[in-house]
């Protein structure tokens, strides 16, 4: 393709953000990054949550850190020296956050410069944004080509996602895409959790993935091994699907938001436990 912008290589800078903390930004960054690398893409992950370093431990790379993001932008080390190569996938890299500095240690302009350098070397640059809407968030989107907003199907994270979407649009970035994380199909079928349609009705942005609530995320995070590399993990599959969609593949949304007859009841029936009264089910949450 004809590059008109001299600063740009072919890499895409994708920022993962949410507004609210604890909705799964870091887990999403680690897993989508691992899934992209597993598909043969060259990937670097940047932990932009300065002062609250976490992406390293989620990926099991916490013992390898010498230099960090602040060292890179301050010129204490060369870019290559701060990149930690993943132990499983040799085309996956991490630039960790500084643990003992604060958000003001990096400026939006420095992030733009860094992203431009990394575009020359990688297919995907994924930035794990800190929670909040202040400077850490501003830094995280400064060099972005596109933004993924992670939300959970509950009121506070959806409200914060709405706020973040407004800020991303105000920053003149393309309309962000949505990841609904920790969807529980059983609760949705009972009408006790907002469905995919409820959330997309409210937020009105395109959906790029739905990740089921899945304990394999807890166990894989305990071990520092991305669930996306575990073919048995349902959440891992959802993250692999997101990676496929980011590379332009048309993958149907795998987790139905509205189990028509109730997931648990079907499982129980298969296992021959419980009758119809076991789980009183009404309709799904869409209308």
């Amino acid at each position: 393709m004809g590059e008109t912008d001299q600063r740009r290589g072919s890499g895409r800078v994708v920022t993962i953000t949410s507004g609210k903390g604890g909705v799964g930004k870091t887990t999403t960054t680690a897993n989508v990054g691992a899934a992209l690398a597993d598909r043969g893409k060259s990937v670097v992950l940047i932990d932009a949550d300065i002062g609250l370093r976490n992406l390293d431990i989620v990926l099991g790379l916490e013992n390898r850190i010498v230099y960090d993001l602040v060292d890179v932008v301050e010129g204490t080390c060369r870019l290559r020296q701060a990149m930690i190569r993943d132990k499983r996938l040799n085309n996956l890299h991490l630039i960790p956050a500084a643990q003992t500095r604060d958000k003001e240690a990096v400026s939006p302009e420095q992030m733009r410069t860094l992203c431009n350098d990394l575009r020359q070397q990688f297919d995907f640059i994924l930035i794990d944004s800190p929670a909040g809407i202040e400077q850490g968030f501003r830094n995280a989107i400064a060099g972005a080509d596109e933004v993924l907003v992670v939300t959970n199907p509950e009121v506070s994270s959806v409200r914060d996602a709405d706020r973040i979407i407004g800020l991303v649009e105000a920053a003149e970035l393309p309309i962000p895409r949505l990841i609904i994380n920790r969807l529980n199909p059983l609760l949705v079928s009972r009408g006790d959790m907002m469905s995919m349609e409820d959330v997309t009705d409210i937020l009105s942005i395109p959906l790029v993935g739905i990740v089921p609530d899945d304990e394999s995320i807890v166990t894989s995070t305990n071990r520092g091994e991305p669930a996306a590399l575990n073919t048995q993990s349902r959440a891992g599959q959802a993250f692999r699907d997101i990676a496929a969609r980011l590379t332009g593949e048309d993958v149907p949304m795998a987790v139905q938001d509205e189990p028509k007859d109730g997931a648990l009841r079907r499982i129980l029936r298969m296992l021959k436990i419980g009758g119809n009264q076991a789980v009183p089910l009404r309709g799904g949450g869409t209308h």
């Binding site: 409820d198 009705d201 409210i202 139905q256 028509k260 997931a263 009404r282 309709g283 949450g285």
Partner: protein, 96 residues
């Protein structure tokens, strides 16, 4: 995929509509209302006044179900849209 299909009920029977008492429905309604305020800076009082005005004005011509009136704010590329959904019981009939 057979297992997944049977678990997630693809092609299964259509679910009944949600009851307004279900908590997901309550969550969605509350979010819609709070986002109206966040976006348009409409206070609950102003929204209630808009609602009353819509009902009053439509009631002059139609038998509307005032309890079922829904006001939503939706977003598209051009900004916010206020959408009022007003169920009509029946036409009040042509004036003679």
């Amino acid at each position: 995929m057979g297992f997944l299909n049977s678990v997630f009920g693809r092609g299964g029977k259509k679910s009944p509509p949600p009851s307004p008492h279900q908590s997901a429905h309550v969550a969605k309604q509350r979010l819609v209302e709070v986002l109206v305020q966040d976006h348009v800076k409409l206070t609950p009082d102003a929204l209630a006044a808009i609602r009353a005005d819509i009902i009053r004005s439509l009631s002059r011509h139609l038998d509307v179900d005032a309890d079922q009136l829904q006001i939503n704010i939706t977003r598209n590329e051009r900004g916010e849209n206020l959408v009022a959904n007003v169920p009509v019981r029946r036409s009040a009939g042509r004036r003679r």
